[in-house]
Symmetry: C2
């Protein structure tokens, strides 16, 4: 027997994810960035990954990721560097321009969400955070 409210919860979560993803995609278009490129830059923000590792993180085929990295290298967002411990290994390094783009997109996202939340009263936002935190913990249970 399914929980009587499961469809309502699933529907709201799905719609909210679609709305946020849609908005992010519009933001990225301003910077001529695609969603997979954006995710790739986020994964490279704190570590130098090999192409293989990046493919795994993005769940994309190696040919797709090669195209994506080639384009970002031409835009000066990333570069290929040799691993310091093993010169045979090539790693991807995010460059200042790539870092700036990610910062701007994140800032724009926050401003959009912030403008919307400003229309709400304080109590509502607090209810939202409290219940979302509990819901996330519920989903995280093993």
């Amino acid at each position: 027997m399914l929980h009587p409210n499961v469809e309502a919860v699933e529907y709201q979560i799905r719609r909210i994810s679609i709305l946020i993803r849609h908005h992010t995609r519009e933001l990225l278009a301003r910077y001529e960035l695609t969603l997979p490129q954006y995710y790739a830059l986020i994964h490279l923000l704190h570590e130098r990954l090999t192409m293989g590792e990046l493919c795994c993180r993005l769940f994309l085929a190696s040919s797709t990721v090669t195209d994506l990295v080639d384009r970002m290298e031409r835009l000066n967002y990333v570069r290929r560097v040799r691993d310091e411990n093993d010169r045979r290994v090539i790693r991807l390094e995010i460059l200042d321009e790539g870092r700036d783009i990610i910062k701007k997109v994140m800032q724009d996202r926050m401003e959009f969400l912030s403008a919307r939340l400003n229309e709400w009263d304080k109590e509502k936002t607090e209810v939202l955070i409290k219940i979302l935190t509990e819901f996330r913990e519920l989903l995280e249970e093993e």
Copy 2:
């Protein structure tokens, strides 16, 4: 000035999306389906799209979508058919096996979420639905 709670809201939403996407990906692995294939099948559930239309819907390059469709055609999830009004146009049609897979994945998703919600008391789920509905409406405003 950013709303004081915007980071908390953004964080919870992002984590919940990641958890759900992660769970969906695990489910799909059981059926040997990738996330882009799953999204493609969902888009084909109620309409026969051309390859170009499917590329637009998935925001993926035409070469990536061609590979993805070829693999799903071999699995008997979709087939290429000629448009009835314009024989030069090829459309993609979902087959019974593709439809069954989508139904099973959706059912599994619902069962997972349902099992989790059953651990909560009724009032909490009601608070969650009410505030998520209001939050979705807030995001949908023009």
